[in-house]
């Protein structure tokens, strides 16, 4: 899993069977320090509670679809949790 920042939502007008109603959010991948890295991606939101601006963690690959119900759906990234607190003690100690 990796950290990401939700930067928007994607609203489909037609979507594959099994994905109806699944929130699709635009996610900016982050590095460990919270800085944007790489290109944005679209992830299905298995928590159904994430929104723009939130720090989330997401799974990629085959495991992403397993986060959804039904699980046999064409999805390659899925948000599985919203971060309350990111605790990096060594980085907090640094100036």
């Amino acid at each position: 899993m990796l950290l990401g920042r939700v930067v928007g939502a994607m609203v489909p007008c037609v979507i594959c069977e099994g994905l109806e109603g699944t929130p699709m959010l635009v996610v900016q991948p982050l590095d460990m320090a919270g800085s944007p890295t790489g290109r944005t991606l679209v992830a299905a939101d298995s928590t159904r509670m994430a929104g723009p601006g939130e720090l989330v963690y997401y799974e990629g690959g085959r495991e992403a679809a397993l986060a959804l119900d039904p699980a046999f759906v064409p999805v390659d990234h899925a948000i599985v949790g919203i971060v309350d607190e990111l605790h990096l003690p060594e980085r907090e100690a640094a100036p």
Partner: protein, 93 residues
Amino acid sequence: MILGRVAGAIHSTINHPFYDAKKLLVVEKTDPEGLPTGDYLIAVDVVGAGVGERVLVLDEGNGARQVLSSSDGPVRSVVVGIIDHVDLTRQAS
């Protein structure tokens, strides 16, 4: 499996039900010498690793689900060991 070093932890209340009561660690990937490669991942901890420890991370879905006794959990990365030391035999260059 990959070598890493625990950099921190993630606390979360809103998550997929599979992750309820699971400890998530932020692991920075390292080379065999222990130097950070600049990459990282978030993994479930099953061995009780803490910040600063060098760890062994399984980054494959089926093995991860087996370790966590789940058939359909959306998980790929699990911290499966704490490294004591790594012995390397260097080839003469």
